[in-house]
């Protein structure tokens, strides 16, 4: 009996009980679709996070106030303390103290209401210096960016992100228009090129003003010299760790701290951010895939169950086939084939369902799903494998039936 005929016989037997076969396959189908979706979701999120972090700019170090270490008791919350100042930022521009640092941009940000007539839009207003554009790897789509003159003169010029401009003025072409923040009128001098958005941080919804203006006009108060973040751009990718050392050392010296463990700031690199984020998402993906795989296991047990029922139900058929000269191997193969065809069916339909869901869900979920061909092919192979593995026991039982007993069973 050739493989083709065995396959045809298997298919025939499955079709003869189509409802039962469908229900059996359902378990595997759901498992496969779940595996493809979770792997896809994990990969998609990883991609999103990497893209988001990369969009911060290349060769970038990020200095945040506060510390994540808590060796000396509870420290001020990471990112919310005011230990970094504009003088820290200007010190880092020194070519002698930090030769591997190419450019520095301090950011002082605050959430503010931007008003254009009746239109009111809350956005992150960033006070920074002209170097920001280069350090953050942004480009201006229209108009110009802030200049040194804007900084020294504390002008009320503002550069908007494309989305902010659209929200306020109905189109990104907003140069020359005016808006008010805290009753101070600002003139739009430029609009930034879109940098894409991600779920956690919208790079296109922002408004950039001169640091001096930010400190004196928008925020004010005693913490006016404090900054939220200092972005440090290294000379090149190879110099990033040297730049890291220099930044760390210089700031420790400036803050009069000897022990790096007690630092009141945190320097992190994109690489570190990417790898942290990636590892978090990888763990999540593994976890979710594990749960999905469990459902595959349950599906496999379903296949075994139905195959055992099938063997019992078809004892007389088995007896007859044996009497007619089917060797045990042919019977075994017949049932194994049936089980694998069930697995394959579940795998194919499950994969189709998974891929379809991966195409449809992102529009609802606001998170991209990357269908990995490896996951698709792999899960179909696994589905067939599950059919095979869980088919072995029923198939062996069928092959072992003695023909006389099998023929006499009712």
């Amino acid at each position: 009996m050739s493989w083709g005929e065995t396959l045809a016989t298997g298919w025939h037997a499955i079709r003869a009980h189509s409802m039962r076969s469908l229900l059996t396959v359902l378990g595997i189908l759901i498992g496969i679709a779940a595996v493809i979706l979770t792997v896809g979701l994990g990969l998609g999120t990883q991609k999103d996070v990497s893209a988001q972090i990369s969009s911060l700019g290349s060769n970038l170090l990020i200095v945040s106030p506060g510390s994540t270490t808590s060796s000396a008791g509870i420290r001020g919350g990471f990112g919310s303390s005011t230990t970094l100042t504009t003088s820290d930022a200007s010190a880092l521009t020194s070519k002698t103290a930090a030769p591997d640092v190419e450019a520095v941009a301090a950011e002082k940000s605050s959430s503010e209401s931007l008003v254009n007539g009746d239109t009111n839009w809350t956005s992150t207003v960033v006070g920074t210096t002209p170097s920001w554009l280069d350090v953050r790897s942004r480009t201006v789509a229209q108009g110009r960016f802030l200049t040194a003159a804007d900084e020294t003169d504390r002008t009320t010029n503002i550069v908007l992100g494309s989305e902010t401009a659209t929200e306020l003025f109905g189109s990104p072409r907003a140069v020359g228009r005016t808006l008010t923040i805290n009753d101070v009128t600002f003139t739009v001098v430029g609009v930034l090129e879109s940098a894409g958005s991600s779920s956690s941080d919208n790079l296109d919804d922002t408004a950039v003003v001169p640091m001096s203006t930010m400190q004196n006009t928008i925020v004010g108060g005693t913490t006016r010299t404090a900054v939220s973040t200092i972005y440090v751009k290294a000379v090149g990718t190879d110099e990033i760790s040297a730049a890291y050392q220099e930044t760390q050392q210089l700031l420790l010296n400036l803050h009069g701290i000897t022990d790096a463990d007690n630092a009141d700031f945190t320097v992190s690199s994109q690489d570190a951010l990417v790898s942290t984020a990636t590892s978090v998402y990888r763990t999540l993906t593994v976890l979710l895939t594990g749960i999905a795989a469990l459902s595959l296991l349950v599906g496999g047990i379903g296949v075994m169950n139905i195959m055992l029922v099938s063997v019992t139900e078809r004892t007389r058929e088995i007896g007859l086939r044996k009497a007619l000269g089917a060797p045990p191997v042919a019977i075994r193969r017949q049932f194994l084939t049936e089980a694998s065809v069930l697995g394959l069916g579940g795998g194919l339909v499950g994969a189709a369902l998974g891929i379809a869901a991966a195409k449809l869900l992102p529009s609802v979920l606001d998170s991209s799903i990357v269908v990995s061909p490896t996951a698709v092919v792999g899960s179909i192979v696994i589905a067939v494998g599950i059919g095979l593995v869980f088919g072995v026991y029923p198939a062996v039982r069928a092959a072992r039936l003695a023909p006389i007993d099998a023929l006499r069973s009712e």
């Binding site: 009996m1 007859l320 009497a323 007619l324 000269g325 089917a326 060797p327 045990p328 006389i404 023929l407």
Partner: protein, 277 residues
């Protein structure tokens, strides 16, 4: 039918071995501490072309004998040669092959696969022999033609009458050109008309030179055979022409035992009441 008999001359020479040659056949079943001797030294020899009925009541060992003759079971001791093959030393796989090539089974319950069209049922033995699909279909069609069902190739068993189903089963037994057609109570599930139908078919096959062994407990069926082997208590009780089933007054005896002349005729014996249970 003739397609597969490649060298027919050698088959018909007197030198051909008997189809069935069973000597001192014993079969013992052990269940726990209880042993049961189903066959207690049976000798049967059936030549090519014979039409033999094996008769006996329930528990006589006739089913065991049928299983042994059909290579579905092996002897505990003794030798069994089927068409010259010594079956005693064969393993499960070789037994399957012998069954496939040398025996055509006909069962009481027909044992047709309900989801398959009749020609697909008939081709099954050829499938396990590795015959190509086209040839299988042709031969299955020829076999169905032979049993008078040439127009029922694509009907499923459920669409056929009992007699027709049994004829499909006979076609399946014929299709592989086996040395022996072994029919186990082939008319047990049939009404009178269908019984006659199937028995007529066996007569025809016998005329055509087939070797047929029919296991039955019905004397009406057994008398159609040319020779009757009577089994009782695991032993051959009698072996002779079918006419011996009738006593001197012309009565047909259910167990084939012919009462001594002058003894009261007992057409219904205790064994038969057991049979009816």
């Amino acid at each position: 039918m003739t397609a597969t008999l490649a060298g027919p001359a050698t088959w018909t020479t007197p030198a051909a071995p008997p189809v069935i040659d069973l000597r001192a056949g014993r079969k013992t079943y052990t269940t726990g501490s209880i042993t049961f001797e189903a066959l207690r030294g049976v000798d049967v020899r059936i030549e090519r072309g014979e039409y033999v009925a094996i008769m006996g009541p329930s528990g006589s060992g006739k089913s065991t004998l049928m299983n042994v003759l059909g290579c579905l079971d092996v002897l505990t001791s003794g030798t069994y040669r089927l068409a010259g093959h010594d079956v005693g030393d064969l393993d499960e796989v070789e037994l399957a092959q012998i069954r496939n090539e040398e025996i055509g089974f006909v069962f009481q319950q027909f044992h047709l696969l309900p989801s398959l069209a009749s020609w697909r049922n008939v081709e099954l033995p050829l499938m396990y022999r590795g015959v190509a699909r086209n040839e299988r279909r042709d031969r299955a069609a020829a076999a169905l033609e032979r049993v008078g069902l040439g127009d029922r190739l694509d009907n499923r068993p459920g669409e056929l009458s009992g007699g027709q189903q049994q004829r499909v089963a006979v076609a399946r037994a014929l299709v592989g050109e086996p040395a022996l057609i072994l029919a186990d109570e082939p008319t047990g599930n049939l009404d009178t008309a269908s019984t006659e139908d199937v028995l007529a078919l066996f007569d025809e096959l016998h005329e055509a030179g087939r070797t047929i062994v029919l296991i039955t407990h019905e004397p009406e069926v057994a008398e159609r055979a040319r020779r009757v082997v009577r089994v009782r208590d695991g032993l051959i009780q009698g072996d002779g022409p079918a006419s011996a089933l009738h006593d001197d007054r012309g009565y047909l005896h259910h167990d084939g035992a012919v009462p001594a002349p002058g003894a009261p005729s007992t057409t219904l014996r205790t064994d038969d009441t057991q049979e009816l249970r």
